[in-house]
Amino acid sequence: MIGDSIEISVVDIKGDQVKLGIRAPKKVKVYRKEVYENIQRENRAALQSTGTLPSLEPFLEQQKKKEKP
Protein backbone atom coordinates (compact mmCIF):
# COMPACT_ATOMS: atom_id res chain seq x y z
CA MET A 1 0.00 0.00 0.00
CA ILE A 2 1.09 3.58 -0.65
CA GLY A 3 -0.78 5.90 1.68
CA ASP A 4 -4.33 4.82 2.41
CA SER A 5 -5.63 4.50 -1.08
CA ILE A 6 -3.04 3.14 -3.49
CA GLU A 7 -2.57 -0.59 -3.62
CA ILE A 8 0.15 -2.38 -5.54
CA SER A 9 0.00 -6.10 -6.13
CA VAL A 10 1.88 -8.69 -8.13
CA VAL A 11 -0.53 -9.92 -10.77
CA ASP A 12 1.65 -12.40 -12.56
CA ILE A 13 5.19 -13.75 -12.68
CA LYS A 14 6.45 -15.26 -15.92
CA GLY A 15 10.15 -16.13 -16.12
CA ASP A 16 12.00 -12.92 -15.34
CA GLN A 17 8.95 -10.70 -15.91
CA VAL A 18 6.75 -9.48 -13.10
CA LYS A 19 3.39 -7.93 -13.87
CA LEU A 20 2.26 -5.38 -11.31
CA GLY A 21 -1.26 -4.19 -10.73
CA ILE A 22 -1.95 -0.74 -9.34
CA ARG A 23 -5.29 0.07 -7.78
CA ALA A 24 -5.73 3.79 -7.18
CA PRO A 25 -8.66 6.18 -6.85
CA LYS A 26 -9.69 7.80 -10.14
CA LYS A 27 -8.31 11.11 -8.92
CA VAL A 28 -4.78 9.73 -8.79
CA LYS A 29 -2.90 9.67 -12.05
CA VAL A 30 -0.93 6.51 -12.77
CA TYR A 31 1.04 6.45 -16.00
CA ARG A 32 3.74 4.22 -17.28
CA LYS A 33 6.99 6.09 -17.72
CA GLU A 34 7.08 5.07 -21.41
CA VAL A 35 3.78 6.82 -22.07
CA TYR A 36 5.08 10.02 -20.55
CA GLU A 37 8.34 9.75 -22.48
CA ASN A 38 6.50 9.04 -25.74
CA ILE A 39 4.51 12.22 -25.40
CA GLN A 40 7.65 14.16 -24.52
CA ARG A 41 9.34 12.78 -27.65
CA GLU A 42 6.29 13.51 -29.80
CA ASN A 43 6.17 17.11 -28.56
CA ARG A 44 9.79 17.51 -29.59
CA ALA A 45 9.03 16.03 -33.02
CA ALA A 46 6.03 18.35 -33.38
CA LEU A 47 8.32 21.35 -32.86
CA GLN A 48 10.29 20.25 -35.93
CA SER A 49 7.17 20.35 -38.11
CA THR A 50 7.67 21.92 -41.52
CA GLY A 51 6.85 25.62 -41.54
CA THR A 52 4.23 25.54 -44.28
CA LEU A 53 1.03 23.85 -43.26
CA PRO A 54 -0.61 21.44 -45.67
CA SER A 55 -4.12 21.96 -46.94
CA LEU A 56 -6.66 19.59 -45.46
CA GLU A 57 -9.57 21.33 -47.14
CA PRO A 58 -9.90 18.94 -50.13
CA PHE A 59 -10.04 15.97 -47.77
CA LEU A 60 -12.55 17.58 -45.46
CA GLU A 61 -14.70 18.62 -48.43
CA GLN A 62 -14.68 15.03 -49.68
CA GLN A 63 -15.78 13.94 -46.23
CA LYS A 64 -18.68 16.38 -46.16
CA LYS A 65 -19.87 15.11 -49.53
CA LYS A 66 -19.76 11.54 -48.30
CA GLU A 67 -21.85 12.39 -45.27
CA LYS A 68 -24.65 13.70 -47.46
CA PRO A 69 -27.02 10.96 -48.56
Binding site: K26, K27, V28, K29, Y31, V35, Y36, N38, I39, Q40, R41, E42, N43, R44, A45, A46, L47, Q48, S49, T50, G51, T52, L53, P54, S55, L56, E57, F59, L60, Q62, Q63, K66
Partner: protein, 146 residues
Protein backbone atom coordinates in the same frame (compact mmCIF):
# COMPACT_ATOMS: atom_id res chain seq x y z
CA UNK B 1 -0.49 43.33 -27.71
CA UNK B 2 2.51 42.64 -29.90
CA UNK B 3 4.14 39.22 -29.98
CA UNK B 4 6.69 37.46 -32.17
CA UNK B 5 5.55 34.22 -33.77
CA UNK B 6 7.40 31.35 -35.39
CA UNK B 7 5.06 31.17 -38.37
CA UNK B 8 4.23 34.80 -39.09
CA UNK B 9 6.90 36.92 -37.40
CA UNK B 10 5.64 39.92 -35.40
CA UNK B 11 1.88 39.93 -34.81
CA UNK B 12 -0.59 42.09 -32.98
CA UNK B 13 -2.95 39.87 -31.01
CA UNK B 14 -5.89 40.27 -28.66
CA UNK B 15 -5.11 39.66 -25.00
CA UNK B 16 -8.01 37.21 -24.94
CA UNK B 17 -5.89 34.88 -27.07
CA UNK B 18 -3.36 34.46 -24.26
CA UNK B 19 -3.59 31.13 -22.40
CA UNK B 20 -1.78 30.30 -19.17
CA UNK B 21 -0.29 26.80 -18.98
CA UNK B 22 0.73 26.50 -15.29
CA UNK B 23 2.52 23.18 -15.98
CA UNK B 24 3.79 24.02 -19.46
CA UNK B 25 3.66 21.21 -22.00
CA UNK B 26 5.15 17.77 -21.36
CA UNK B 27 8.91 18.09 -21.81
CA UNK B 28 8.55 21.87 -22.11
CA UNK B 29 7.55 22.70 -18.58
CA UNK B 30 9.43 26.02 -18.56
CA UNK B 31 7.10 27.70 -21.08
CA UNK B 32 3.90 28.66 -19.32
CA UNK B 33 2.31 31.37 -21.44
CA UNK B 34 1.04 30.78 -24.97
CA UNK B 35 -1.16 32.47 -27.52
CA UNK B 36 -3.79 30.47 -29.38
CA UNK B 37 -3.82 31.65 -32.99
CA UNK B 38 -5.79 30.70 -36.07
CA UNK B 39 -3.33 29.42 -38.66
CA UNK B 40 -3.58 31.00 -42.09
CA UNK B 41 -4.24 27.46 -43.32
CA UNK B 42 -7.47 26.07 -41.90
CA UNK B 43 -8.32 23.94 -39.97
CA UNK B 44 -5.06 24.38 -38.04
CA UNK B 45 -4.17 26.55 -35.07
CA UNK B 46 -0.86 27.62 -33.61
CA UNK B 47 -0.03 27.39 -29.93
CA UNK B 48 2.68 30.02 -29.78
CA UNK B 49 4.93 30.54 -26.75
CA UNK B 50 5.13 34.18 -25.74
CA UNK B 51 8.59 33.65 -24.23
CA UNK B 52 10.43 32.05 -27.14
CA UNK B 53 9.20 32.52 -30.73
CA UNK B 54 10.66 29.17 -31.84
CA UNK B 55 8.45 27.30 -29.38
CA UNK B 56 5.22 26.90 -31.33
CA UNK B 57 3.00 23.89 -31.91
CA UNK B 58 0.46 23.19 -34.64
CA UNK B 59 -2.92 22.17 -33.25
CA UNK B 60 -6.01 20.61 -34.76
CA UNK B 61 -9.47 19.73 -33.51
CA UNK B 62 -9.28 15.91 -33.34
CA UNK B 63 -13.03 15.55 -33.87
CA UNK B 64 -12.50 16.54 -37.51
CA UNK B 65 -10.95 13.17 -38.26
CA UNK B 66 -12.00 11.14 -35.17
CA UNK B 67 -15.61 12.07 -34.40
CA UNK B 68 -15.54 9.36 -31.72
CA UNK B 69 -12.64 11.00 -29.84
CA UNK B 70 -12.91 11.70 -26.15
CA UNK B 71 -9.75 12.67 -24.27
CA UNK B 72 -10.46 10.40 -21.26
CA UNK B 73 -8.09 12.22 -18.92
CA UNK B 74 -7.81 12.01 -15.14
CA UNK B 75 -10.36 13.99 -13.13
CA UNK B 76 -7.49 15.78 -11.45
CA UNK B 77 -6.44 17.25 -14.81
CA UNK B 78 -9.91 18.58 -15.45
CA UNK B 79 -9.99 20.11 -11.97
CA UNK B 80 -6.82 22.04 -12.82
CA UNK B 81 -8.72 23.70 -15.65
CA UNK B 82 -11.35 25.10 -13.22
CA UNK B 83 -14.21 24.57 -15.65
CA UNK B 84 -17.56 26.07 -14.68
CA UNK B 85 -19.36 24.21 -17.44
CA UNK B 86 -18.37 21.49 -19.92
CA UNK B 87 -18.89 23.88 -22.84
CA UNK B 88 -15.90 25.94 -21.77
CA UNK B 89 -13.54 23.08 -22.59
CA UNK B 90 -11.63 23.13 -25.87
CA UNK B 91 -9.80 19.96 -26.90
CA UNK B 92 -6.89 20.02 -29.32
CA UNK B 93 -4.30 17.57 -30.60
CA UNK B 94 -0.72 18.57 -31.37
CA UNK B 95 0.18 17.91 -35.01
CA UNK B 96 3.55 16.67 -36.25
CA UNK B 97 4.20 17.47 -39.90
CA UNK B 98 7.09 15.55 -41.45
CA UNK B 99 8.63 16.39 -44.82
CA UNK B 100 6.12 14.10 -46.49
CA UNK B 101 3.11 16.07 -45.36
CA UNK B 102 0.73 13.27 -46.27
CA UNK B 103 2.14 11.46 -43.26
CA UNK B 104 1.28 14.20 -40.78
CA UNK B 105 0.14 12.84 -37.46
CA UNK B 106 -1.92 14.02 -34.53
CA UNK B 107 -1.16 13.17 -30.93
CA UNK B 108 -4.38 11.85 -29.42
CA UNK B 109 -2.67 10.45 -26.34
CA UNK B 110 -1.45 13.84 -25.13
CA UNK B 111 -4.41 16.17 -25.71
CA UNK B 112 -4.13 19.91 -25.10
CA UNK B 113 -7.09 21.04 -23.02
CA UNK B 114 -8.06 24.69 -22.68
CA UNK B 115 -10.64 26.44 -20.54
CA UNK B 116 -11.63 29.09 -23.03
CA UNK B 117 -13.35 31.29 -20.45
CA UNK B 118 -10.60 31.35 -17.85
CA UNK B 119 -7.77 30.99 -20.38
CA UNK B 120 -6.12 28.10 -18.56
CA UNK B 121 -4.58 25.23 -20.47
CA UNK B 122 -2.73 22.01 -19.85
CA UNK B 123 -1.49 19.00 -21.74
CA UNK B 124 -2.92 15.82 -20.31
CA UNK B 125 -2.32 12.14 -20.83
CA UNK B 126 -5.26 10.11 -22.03
CA UNK B 127 -6.04 7.05 -19.92
CA UNK B 128 -7.62 5.39 -22.97
CA UNK B 129 -5.11 2.97 -24.53
CA UNK B 130 -6.76 3.35 -27.96
CA UNK B 131 -5.25 6.81 -28.31
CA UNK B 132 -1.65 6.94 -29.43
CA UNK B 133 0.88 9.69 -30.02
CA UNK B 134 0.82 9.21 -33.80
CA UNK B 135 -2.47 9.00 -35.67
CA UNK B 136 -1.94 9.59 -39.40
CA UNK B 137 -4.56 12.25 -40.09
CA UNK B 138 -5.16 11.42 -43.75
CA UNK B 139 -5.52 7.72 -42.96
CA UNK B 140 -8.05 8.50 -40.24
CA UNK B 141 -9.98 10.72 -42.66
CA UNK B 142 -9.95 7.98 -45.30
CA UNK B 143 -11.20 5.43 -42.76
CA UNK B 144 -14.17 7.66 -41.95
CA UNK B 145 -15.89 6.92 -45.23
CA UNK B 146 -16.78 3.36 -44.21
Amino acid sequence: MKIVTKAYGPLDIDERQVIQFPYGLIGFEQFKVFALLDASQQPFYWLQSLDVPDIAFVLINPLLFRPDYTPDVAEEDLEDLQLDQPDDLLVFSIVTIPENQNRMTANLQGPVLINRKKKIGRQSISLNPNWRVKHVILEELAALKD
